[in-house]
């Protein structure tokens, strides 16, 4: 009894695959039915020529890069890169600076008495909760000062970018890069302190700083214009200025109300 081969086997044979190629070859010479099926398969597949792919020029890779570079997400870090990134010199310096700020805030909170404002009832903190509140206020005050300074510096970088001529922006990029790590730390501090509006502006600022840092140093007019449009669209310069002013006022305010208004102080006579 003659064994015929299935369409699937003949398809694999057409593509040069399958384990029984010699058997099939011999069979096709003697079996008209299988040979006809094979001819039909081959004839159909021969009609399907590779489509002509539209031409893409030498600059295509660069065009793709321009399209995606603003959308690049945070890569999923490998364990090794996470470990090594912690010990980069720049990161160490930033971490050391942040540690000093935290230490200063902690010390200030423990040592400095809370200064009463003239003409206002004097809150006397006699409980443990009261001591914590005084410390928290000092830390908050240092955070406000630091963030206001940071916003002022960032404003200067953004202003430079808004007014920079087309060409080399490497100086602005280095400056933006220095501010970037600090910006992340302050944003996190602001989140922890419940300063949501500050955190939101720092978040916007961080995006613009990243964009500036990741742009080519020798920037084209079009790319520079794109960065400026984003800064404009987010009203970033305006927001940064207003927030910086607001933080300065809060620094100077004798009895400021903070987003965490659940401070418990007792007034004693």
């Amino acid at each position: 009894m003659t064994h015929h081969f299935s369409e699937d086997e003949l398809t694999l044979y057409y593509y040069g695959e399958g384990r029984r190629r010699h058997d099939i070859e011999r069979h096709l010479e003697s079996c008209a039915a299988c040979a006809a099926t094979h001819r039909e398969i081959a004839g159909t597949l021969a009609m399907i020529a590779a489509p002509e792919v539209p031409e893409r020029g030498d600059q295509y890779g660069l065009e793709v890069w321009q399209r995606i570079r603003h959308k690049l997400p945070e890569p999923e870090p490998s364990a090794w890169s996470t470990l090594t990134s912690l010990f980069r010199p720049g990161r160490l310096a930033i971490a050391a600076a942040a540690a000093i700020v935290v230490l200063a805030a902690f010390t200030a909170g423990r040592v400095w008495p809370r200064l009463p404002a003239a003409g206002t009832p004097q809150p006397v903190t006699t409980t443990a909760a009261g001591s914590m509140t005084a410390g928290s206020d000092s830390r908050q005050r240092i955070l406000l000062t630091s963030v206001a300074d940071h916003l002022d510096q960032s404003e200067r970088v953004l202003t430079d970018i808004m007014n920079a001529p087309r060409g080399d922006i490497s100086a602005e990029q280095r400056w933006a890069n220095d501010l970037l790590d600090a910006s992340r730390l302050y944003r996190q501090d602001a989140v922890d302190a419940g300063e949501r509006s500050v955190a939101a502006i720092l978040d916007d600022l961080e995006r613009s700083l990243i964009e500036i840092v990741n742009s080519p140093s020798k920037i084209s007019a079009a790319d520079l214009e794109q960065i400026r449009r984003r800064i404009d669209a987010a009203s970033l310069l305006f927001k940064v200025r207003v927030m910086s002013d607001e933080l300065r006022k809060r620094e100077d305010a004798p009895d400021r109300s903070t987003p965490r208004s659940s401070t418990s102080t007792r007034v004693t006579s």
Binding site: M47, I48, G61, V64, S78, S81
Partner: protein
């Protein structure tokens, strides 16, 4: 870019160096576009696949093993992005289509079968081939593209699309069956 330089660029890209990743994008964009176009059959879709593939690659660079070949790894990402895009388009168009063979659905209206003169025109053949390819499910189309246009073996198709060997093989078989049915009018006109 020689092998040593390529390895160095790749290593820097894996550490988050965007300039290095840019070099990889510039190096591979055209081949990525070619595969994406063959997979999707549409220029705009291919461009979308190119972008999404590189973004996905960037996100997953940490998972890439340096011993592996970046081009092969990227090829896999492009293939799967293409399948994802075709699936989402299919879902959007609410085209309910199982993987099972539905011969009725493959038949073109009788009035649409062109006469012998038009059959001789290769443009008309191409049009009908493209139509037939569009009728395949995303997985069938991807498997067929890899086998027929890209010359990949069943084992390679299986690895690229993350399928078992049997599933990869049957995706190709189903595609070929559907194409034979769809293109039968052309064959009968020819003979």
């Amino acid at each position: 870019m020689d092998a040593t330089e390529a390895a160095a660029v790749l290593a820097r890209a894996r550490q988050g160096d965007s300039d290095a990743f840019r070099a990889l994008v510039e190096q591979h964009s055209r081949s990525v576009f070619r595969l994406a176009f063959r997979m999707t059959g549409n220029e705009q879709d291919a461009e979308d696949v190119v972008q999404e593939s590189f973004l996905r690659a960037y996100r997953q660079l940490g998972r890439f093993e340096s011993r592996a070949n970046f081009g092969t790894w990227l090829y896999r990402i492009v293939s799967n992005c293409s399948v994802d895009l075709m699936r989402s388009k299919q879902a959007r168009h609410d085209q309910v289509r199982g993987d099972s063979l539905d011969e009725g659905a493959m038949e073109l209206p009788a009035a649409d079968v062109p006469g012998p003169e038009r059959m001789a025109q290769s443009a008309e053949i191409d049009r009908r081939v493209q139509h037939a390819l569009q009728e395949l499910s995303p997985l069938e189309r991807a498997a067929f593209t890899l086998r027929h246009y890209e010359g990949r073996s069943i084992d390679e198709i299986s690895a690229t699309l993350g399928l078992g060997t049997s599933a990869a093989k049957h995706s190709v078989f189903r595609a070929v069956k559907k194409l034979r049915i769809a293109l039968a009018p052309l064959r009968s006109q020819e003979s």
